[in-house]
């Protein structure tokens, strides 16, 4: 039997020392340099695609620049802003947008929370139901707009056909002042109620069960449990969902473009749709930039007020 090879050397340190030491980090590639190298592509992209356009739009908003007509941009200072804020046309679009945002978000919140509450009480098929309810949210707004346009067509649409089979009269969904705005709200609600439902469901699932058990021991009614446990705990999360939806609804463009083109007349023209017309029909770039900046400011101010309320709610 031959001698077995030693498992260890007498001087293990010598083996290690045979490998050359790792080269020292280049003085030019410090940790900070490395961090800059890794973050700069993203920062440059952000600068080029977000910061620069915003700053440029801000600059143009004080001028009479037109993207197509060219020539030197003359400084008008706050003339564009004054014109927008005092324009009856803008006031009309602001009112339309306000009615739309209030109507759509309220409806979506009530429906979304109700559906989430009902789903949360089920023990079987919750996952499948949630997935099915989420389908509308996954569709493109343009696709949604197009098929709802066909469905709501007064002559050939399936909705009026169904109403007819129930003995009800035809409704001019998209060509009458009141029904056109209601149609927009309904279609937006169909698509975005699942978003509120999803957030509300997350909040409802997170409510600790022992609270309900304790309440049940105290023989609290279902309504009392809902009012004093469920709603206060879900409310802050629901408000965040409402904030997101309100911002989205405020800048609504695609559904209006596809479903009504702002009509009849201009009765469903939202602020975003009006900005589009100012920017691309007349190419009044200066005015459109000021209009866009004002819309951003409105969203920022409302969001700040909202977040403060949310913080106060948390502190309480």
């Amino acid at each position: 039997m031959s001698d077995s090879a030693p498992l260890t050397t007498d001087h293990p340190g010598q083996v290690a020392s045979a490998t050359p030491p790792a080269p020292g980090r280049s003085s030019r590639l410090s940790d900070r340099g490395l961090a800059v190298a890794f973050t700069s592509p993203a920062l440059l992209l952000l600068l080029a695609m977000s910061v620069f356009p915003l700053l440029w739009a801000l600059y143009l908003s004080f001028t009479d620049y037109s993207a197509t007509r060219g020539g030197t941009a003359q400084f008008l200072w706050f003339e564009n802003y004054t014109a927008i804020l005092t324009s009856p046309q803008v006031h009309q679009r602001a009112l339309t947008t306000l009615i739309y945002v209030a109507g759509a978000v309220t409806l979506q919140t009530v429906l979304g929370f109700t559906i989430a509450y009902l789903i949360s009480r089920r023990t079987h098929g919750r996952g499948l139901l949630t997935t099915l309810f989420l389908v509308p949210m996954m569709l493109s707004p343009v696709v949604v707009g197009l098929f709802w346009r066909f469905m709501l067509d007064a002559q050939f649409g399936v909705i009026n056909s169904m109403l007819g089979s129930l003995g009800l009269g035809q409704v001019e969904w998209l060509t009458r002042q009141r029904t056109a705005l209601i149609s927009l709200i309904l279609v937006d609600t169909w698509q975005w109620t699942p978003f509120i439902m999803l957030i509300a469901l997350a909040g409802l699932t997170a409510v600790p069960k022992y609270l309900y058990e304790a309440a049940a021991i105290d023989r609290a009614s279902q309504w009392f449990q809902f009012r004093t446990i469920t709603l206060p705990l879900v409310w802050p999360l629901l408000l965040i969902a409402v904030l997101f939806r309100a911002i989205e609804a405020f800048r609504l463009f695609d559904l209006v473009y596809i479903l009504t083109s702002g009509g009849p007349g201009v009765s469903t023209e939202t602020l975003s749709f009006h900005v589009y017309k100012v920017a691309f029909l007349g190419f009044n770039t200066g005015t459109a930039s000021a209009y866009g900046i004002l819309m951003v400011l409105v969203v920022i101010v409302l969001t700040q007020l909202y977040l403060r309320y949310l913080n106060k709610l948390k502190e309480d």
Partner: protein, 471 residues
Amino acid sequence: MRYPKRTGRLSVPGRKARLATAAMLAATTLAACGGQDGSAPKAPATIPELTKDPLTLSFIWFDWPPAHALEAFANAEYAKLRPNVTIKVKTVPNANWHDAMFTQFAAHKTDFDIPILDSQHIGEAVTNGNILDITDFVKKNIDVKAYNPYLLAAYGQFPQAETGKRDENASLYGLPLLGDTWTMIYRKDLIGDKPPQTWDEMISVAEKCQADNPGVSGLAFHQANGSDAAAVTYNTVNGVYGGNLWDPKTRKIDGVLNDAAGQEAMDVLVNKMKPLTAKGSGNWFIDEVNAAVAQGKACIAFNWIAASGGLLDPKQSTLGTTREQILDKLGFATLPAQKTNLVPLGGMGMHVSAYSPEANQAEALNFMKWFEQGDIQKKWAAAGGVPSRTDALESPEFLDAAPFNQVYTDSVPRMRDMWNVPEYARLVDIENTNVNAALNGAKAPKAALDDIAKQQQAVLNAGSGKGGGGL
């Protein structure tokens, strides 16, 4: 601590980076804002030497049958002359057509060589320097006497020609590609073979037809507030009842459009014609009107000739299983007259993008010269196009190609266009939205017409030189 908090002045690299960023922003801003002189560059009188390399000549148009017919026709016929050239007609939805072209013009870079502009877009494109001035090219290469002068003017001249005429001293920026006007489509089986001759007669015939045929509406026409739908409808009735859209010499609209004739036209449209249309038709445009005719739901309809081909397709119609059966029921006629016999000018011209590479511009000019020849125009007519040369319009190739082609030939001397001023897009939007509002009960007819006149006048008064305003 490994990363001590920085205090005081920035390090030199940090300051440099910030200075570089600021410089980049400033430079980009200057580059983005400057560099336009606003005058249309001139095309050479003689076509430059053409490339022998493979080349794609791109058009831009909206998506409708003539766009597809043009691509097929040009690739089949032009390739015989220039085998290295491929023709591509890029299409966008009708509602995006203006924006798709002019946003690229604004960027000074186009992915098309030949923009197919509506006749009213010419002013905007010319004043912004987006298309080539082809006056010298036309003088040397095109037989201008072969056309009705107004057709040549409508698709190329700026400043705009007087209705029915052409100013031979004015510059030309385009050549006719596709002629078009409205045709009256009527149900021969419901109202008889003879079409109504006057507008008033047409309304009373439609009224009787609607009463006699439950489920069939008396009229179908464009009412939508997109593109130029409702505006063309009002302008047509305005012309027929002796109204004017504006006074081009004084640039006056307020007081001209809404004069007594204009008010009468609006009254006829809203109070006499609209009640004869189908419920919910307030957003109808080309496709919806065609669908109503094809499904037998309208006694009399108005539509663009170039979009009427599908009506004869048995696969799309409930009026018959063959083309002949459909034609037994459908008739096509020129528009009825009333105080005048004016009809709307439709169709589009070909132009050359000022931002195309030189080789493509040369090829575009060569294509235009080829396309405007008499025999090619007749072939275009046989392929489903509407030519503009008089010899082609009167040729059997055109007149026998479709039952509505005679309507076009007869309508040419009766045509009137809208304004082709740089402010066109805003003018037509004002008119569209207000006429659409009147048709759908959102505004009283008189108020709508007065609003159109007032708002359009404000746009013209503001001029086109500035990018402020526009609300």
